[in-house]
């Protein structure tokens, strides 16, 4: 079975069945990384470009290793997001890359919607590796895989996502993904970091951390950007940590067998205390391992087999017509 899509732009566009397909494919690829020779020939001759407009060592490395384990050629391009200024635009960049006929472009960009824009210009598959505060679908898929492995189900699971919901693409993709599979999702943050209308995504919003976690099965802590303090989203790191940080004392208010996730990188001692991050509840490193498997699955499902001819909408610029002829 294949994923009947050219691109993976967000969890929102995936059906429940497609999510299940990606997860089961990922499970089967986990074994490849346990082998002595960690490579399969599946995507030999395919070219994957990692186009990163934001620094991200772990996600980029994960995509790169995933491509290489499938025998694809992986090229990394790191660029400063500069198309704001006049000059070569993202579209120019895209069309130049396209002219070199890659099979897949993995893009991370600080502006929401940019992968969708790129996908409209390109024949190659586009995978969204994080766009602004919009989506980070491969992260949500690896989180779902991790929880499913541990708990054996997603249906009915109570998941709390805590931290800077406003700026988090991880939060959005996870809310959408987990609720699609039947989980109950709660988000918890100070009201200054709670986006308006978040409940329309199918979750419940909390400002009291203790209340949110009291019967949770999973707690996902988000990284807090310390510079947000300057923009008055919270008065001090100390107060943020006191109200929303997850430490051993607070963890006692959650069920004993609760599991902890963090998409990383962590601010130890801010949103998560070291004893929680390294404790028996933590699945943080399992997430990283599963991330590799999910990305191998995505490459396989999008690039395996002959290139399909999916109908798509191209955003071609309008051509100006000069034969107007109806002037007075």
């Amino acid at each position: 079975m294949k994923l009947e899509k050219k691109d993976l732009l967000g969890i929102e566009e995936l059906t429940k069945e497609e999510i299940e397909l990606i997860l089961s494919t990922a499970e089967s690829f986990k074994e490849v990384s346990e082998r002595d020779i960690k490579k399969v020939p599946t995507l030999r001759g395919k070219t994957v470009i990692n186009l990163f407009y934001e620094p991200s060592t772990r996600t980029r490395t994960s995509f790169e290793i995933a491509a290489k384990r499938m025998s694809a050629d992986a090229i990394n391009i790191s660029v400063a997001a500069s198309s704001v200024k006049k000059g070569e635009t993202l579209k120019d960049t895209a069309l130049n890359l396209e002219a070199m006929r890659p099979d897949c472009i993995v893009i991370r960009h600080p502006v929401a919607g940019t992968p969708a824009m790129l996908a409209g210009y390109l024949d190659s598959a586009v995978i969204n590796a994080g766009d602004g505060a919009h989506e980070h679908p491969s992260q949500a898929l690896l989180d779902i895989l991790t929880v499913r492995e541990k708990l054996g189900r997603i249906e009915g699971v109570k998941l709390v996502i805590a931290g800077d919901i406003l700026h988090s693409r991880v939060a959005r993709s996870n809310i959408i993904g987990f609720t699609k599979l039947g989980a109950e999702v709660r988000v918890c943050s100070p009201p200054t970091m709670m986006p308006p209308g978040i409940e329309a995504l199918g979750c419940k919003a909390f400002t009291d951390m203790d209340e949110a976690i009291k019967d949770a099965d999973v707690i996902m802590m988000l990284r807090i950007q310390l510079e947000r303090q300057k923009s008055a989203f919270f008065p001090s790191v100390r107060e943020y940590s006191r109200l929303y940080g997850l430490n051993a004392t607070r963890l006692k208010k959650a069920p004993k067998d609760v599991i902890i996730l963090h998409p990383g990188p962590m601010n130890r001692g801010v949103e998560i205390s070291p004893e929680v991050a390294d404790g028996p509840w933590s699945l943080i490193l399992d997430q990283v391992t599963n991330g590799l498997a999910v990305r191998m699955a995505l490459f396989y499902l999008l690039l395996g087999g002959p290139k399909p001819n999916y109908p798509r909408e191209r955003r071609k610029p309008d051509r100006v017509s000069f034969d107007e002829g109806d002037a007075a």
Binding site: A81, K86, H109, M117, P196, I198, V320, A328
Partner: protein
């Protein structure tokens, strides 16, 4: 003697309350007579008369089945010249205006250099001398649009400015806005407010709400506009200056304006066709053609704007015609410029509202003719014997599709591509001269 005879049309002039069949005779750029069909006397140049159909050298337009209205007036156009001629020029912008049925446009001051002194105003007026639409520049409120020092309004007025505005930027300093409203009373110059509290709008790129949350784009709450409209109304009340609120987009602003008018404050307001027809849900595809300032709001705001135009709280419909090139629009959403073109789609969109029962035809035409003239104190927007013959002839039944490639504007940035509209200007007459005729299919 140059004569033009418009016969058999349905004349609708909300300013005078005329709605009926009239023959119009235009001589030397002015209305010579308006009479019921065939009733024109010899002196006034009716049929058979000197200026009528039989007269030598007269041009006859048979407007049978067509609507004849005063030339449309747009209070809010960006012509981009001088400085940004790659986006639009006075020539291309006024051609677009004429094609949209507009005979008069007020052009905003955010050019390069800024229209903050008489020489820029005079340059614009000189370049527009032979344009197919009358161009009335709007001077800046503050020098360089920097919000620090008032412009020399006497000079701006003398050079031909019809109003002042820092449009594109709010006048952030309340003290300066107070002085602008006070000082402008000497010349009876309206002050047009771009009502946006930047400290609340922050880095927002669309309306703040469920859709911005879903898309992960930064939002601008209604409070950004509401608070500034409240401030400006209070300042107009304090100073007696004439305030015109540009591109109203929120239900809160409509309420504030309604209450202020009841108290007798000299405030007028405009809404754009796009804010009257689209809501924030339209941004779901990240198409930068839907990025504008103020942003598209929620359906409740659209509804409030529609009611506001219907009951006269919002006096005018203005385009905020903001042409951009692909350099500004074919980029990442956050980086894309705000604005949409509007001159060539405005009438069709407004008539769609009429067709949908949202607005009475007379209300819609009033909002595009006599009300804008009244708001700016212009002697225009109505057809009277002796007045300049600015006339727009509209075919209410003409069906057409919005195709940006056919725009006369250099800007193709419209959110309405592919929309099927009914009703369009088929002839635009400026000073008695036909400046635009729609080609017959």
């Amino acid at each position: 003697m140059k004569k033009l005879f418009i016969k058999n049309g349905r004349l609708l002039d909300p300013a005078t309350g005329i709605d009926g069949k009239f023959d119009i005779v235009i001589m030397d750029g002015r209305i010579a007579s308006m009479t019921p069909p065939g009733k024109g006397g010899k002196d006034t140049g009716g049929e058979g008369g000197e200026g009528g159909e039989g007269g030598k050298g007269s041009e006859v337009i048979d407007a049978k089945g067509l609507l004849v209205v005063p030339g449309l007036i747009d209070l809010h156009t960006h012509l981009r010249e001088p400085g940004f001629e790659y986006k639009e020029t006075i020539e291309s912008g006024t051609a677009a205006a004429a094609a949209g049925g507009f005979t008069t446009v007020l052009c905003m001051a955010n050019t390069e250099p800024v229209n903050d002194n008489g020489s820029v105003t005079r340059l614009i007026i000189r370049k527009a001398a032979d344009a197919p639409a009358r161009v009335l520049p709007v001077g800046a409120v503050s020098q360089g649009l920097r919000g620090k020092v008032l412009t020399e309004m006497a000079e701006l007025k003398e050079a031909g400015c019809a109003a002042v505005s820092d449009d594109g930027m709010p006048v952030t300093d309340g003290g300066l806005m107070r002085r602008a409203l006070e000082y402008s009373t000497i010349f009876d110059l309206p002050v047009i407010s771009h009502a946006e509290e930047l400290s609340i709008a922050g880095e927002g790129v669309m309306n703040e709400g469920e859709v911005s949350t879903r898309l992960g784009l930064k939002g601008i709450p209604n409070a950004s506009e509401d608070s500034m409209v409240a401030r400006d109304i209070a300042l107009a009340e304090l100073t007696g200056g004439r305030l015109h609120v540009a591109h109203v987009s929120t239900r809160g602003a409509v309420e504030l304006i309604r209450a202020a008018k009841k108290r007798g404050v000299a405030v007028t307001a405009e809404a754009t066709p796009h804010h009257l027809t689209l809501d924030h849900g339209a941004l779901k595809g990240y198409d930068t053609n839907f990025k504008m300032s103020p942003p598209l709001r929620v359906p409740e705001d659209v509804e409030a704007l529609r009611k506001g135009v219907a009951d006269g709280t919002i006096d005018c419909i203005a385009t905020d015609h903001a042409p951009h090139s692909s350099v500004e629009k074919d980029v990442e959403f956050d980086a894309a410029a705000n604005g949409v073109v509007g001159l060539e789609t405005a009438l069709g969109l407004v008539l769609k509202l009429v067709d949908g029962g949202v607005l009475e035809l007379a209300t819609a035409i009033r909002a595009m003719t006599s009300n804008p003239a009244r708001a700016m104190g212009l002697d225009a927007g109505s057809l009277k014997v002796g007045s300049p013959a600015d006339v727009t002839i509209v075919d209410l039944g003409l069906k057409w599709t919005v195709e940006p490639s056919k725009f006369r504007s250099k800007g193709k940035n419209t959110p309405f591509t592919g929309w099927k509209l009914k009703g369009a200007a088929v002839k635009t007459i400026l000073n008695g001269k036909v400046v635009y005729s729609r080609a017959k299919k």
